[in-house]
Assembly symmetry: none
Homo-oligomer: 193 residues x 4
DNA sequence: AATGAATGAGCTTTCATTCAT
DNA sequence: AATGAATGAAAGCTCATTCAT
């Protein structure tokens, strides 16, 4: 390994240790001592790679969030029409959770333990989501909600993912979750007039 | 004041101090030192009224959650039909937040800082909600979702409240929030087949 | 009960609670809170009967020590000659321990937890012991040790009781303890010249 | 000083401070705050060298006990016969106390403040002592006590040391202590049959 | 770049004692 | 005489960060 590679390797090990600890035990348990111990380096070494503890914790969610976004994108990009595609995205979200058990904790605790990262992640998720729905609306696949309303819809759908994953866990989920979600988006909840 | 009243008063002051600090700064900042200082009593006094720090923090959410439930109930009980009533509840939730700025933080952080209280609160909210929707379905006001699907819907609607309040804050909210919410529940998101 | 009797009763209950707690758990665990709780009175009541916590703890050993002295006296007063009588006293000491499990702890910890009481108790035990041995010497039953030497012997014999009870516990003891003790006192340890 | 030496030096200073404080004032007064202050380091430094307060306190007696055992061994190893040698050991014990004033307190309080260390120390002292007496018996220098009786004798002799040092202090002692001890071991206490 | 000991502020909790009721 | 809440000092321990090596 070159010097630069060694350097990169240590940084990666610190990041992975933090990811593992936060995912398993939460941000509070991710002390510098614990992270460096798991990474197999001395405590002081930490500060050669990250400005401080918060800096590493703040880097967790955006990085992993990106990973998740790619995963969902891959699983849903070919699906049509948009209503099916949204359900595919919804399913892909839970599939990702199933394979990345710790992510939910990294995400949910971030609101308080890594607020800046959290805000960034939410923006990273919401903006493209809203663009997708906007374009679908322009194609006629989504009803004619105004742009500010679509923004609201986006947050409803993200809130739905969050609460459902929290309540139902991250294992393989029952069908009613998907059928109810799909049905709500297609025809609403209340009996029409 | 009688002796019992004084006693009650101190306990109330401790509770209110904690409520204020957690609402403003989060559970982590609610040290016994800070709580007792704000309540104007000595640190040792704390333990005459609560078994330990966690006991007080755990009592925050159930108590305040009850308060919120009453508020929402009052604001929505006379509204008909159910679709309007759900929007009334939705509005009342945000009205409550507007008047109780700290509640959101007490609620959201509780998942990690007071997990037992959180689970209890979520159950307290979800169970009656599902009963209401179930009865409305039986009256024909809600489409014929199966019971497990209604449970899913309930968590979607609670997630919606959470993410929207998080994103839009707790001040007076714009109309699109309510119109988008109402419209989604009435007719879904996607253009009909 | 008259007022004085009630008063005496509370004081007795406090004493008994302390005796029980110290015997079972040691002086350190005998907090005023725990003593008053076991006695069934309020904390403040304690200070109507004892100047402070230490005053009660200091009264434990002398009182119980007296009790033990009576017990031993009764069991040994008729035994003759002195060599047998000393063994009878020695046996009675362990018999008392067997029936008063907590005493050993009250005694041994007292050296540090209630030093004044300890010194007093040791004097209470040593002085009559030395008188007994002195008179036996004058009768010719004990060899002609000088008085300062008898004082030394007394502390050796008390130390023996202490270490043996510590090492062998306070249950029913094996015969070698008594035979070795008796033999040492009768003929020493080393093979005579 | 090299880094390792500095490290060792700090640990030594903490140990010596604890030894001094416990010897002078007892275990209860040996708070981490007091120890570190005397050692001239910050409180947090303590935990770089010992797992916790108890760990240091538990290391006191075994270490110093070892030291004392060496001292006594050196002072007595050449003395013969065994009866004289035992008196030499007895004297050496008090000589050690005279030079290490705090040891007595470290030892006696340990029964309650560092029970594990105490038990270990007692075993460390008793076992070789009993071996010595057993061999002397086999050589004919000690009367034919059975092995369980010799164990009893050992605890009597240790109890004697403890109570005598407690009663007579640790300064230079009067001759009667030694003469009485020697005489008891040689010919017992009571006048022969 | 890596090390790991030192720092000191901060935490929760305990407890003997006081005193107004 | 009895009550029991209030007090506040003191305890053990944690941890992010610094810095000399």
């Amino acid at each position: 390994m070159t010097r630069a590679e060694r350097n990169e390797d240590v940084k990666r090990r610190l990041f992975d240790a933090a990811r593992h600890i936060v995912g398993e035990l939460g941000y509070a348990e991710a002390s510098v001592a614990r992270i460096t111990e798991m990474a197999g380096v001395a405590q002081g070494t930490f500060y050669n790679h990250f400005a401080n503890r918060q800096a590493l914790l703040d880097s967790l969610l955006p990085t992993i969030g990106q990973e998740m976004a790619h995963f969902i994108q891959e699983r849903s990009e070919t699906v049509r029409p948009e209503s099916e595609r949204e359900v595919a995205r919804f399913r892909a979200f839970f599939d990702y959770l199933g394979e990345n058990a710790g992510f939910l904790r990294i995400l949910n605790e971030a609101e308080f333990a890594a607020p800046e990262a959290y805000r960034q992640h939410m923006d990273n998720m919401a903006a493209p989501f809203q663009r997708i729905l906007g374009r679908a609306r322009d194609r006629g696949e989504v009803q004619d909600y105004a742009d500010p309303e679509l923004e609201v819809i986006v947050h409803i759908l993200m809130g739905a993912r969050s609460y459902l994953s929290q309540h139902y866990g991250s294992g393989p989920l029952d069908e009613p979750i998907f059928s109810a979600y799909a049905r709500l988006l297609r025809g609403g909840l209340f009996a029409g007039s």
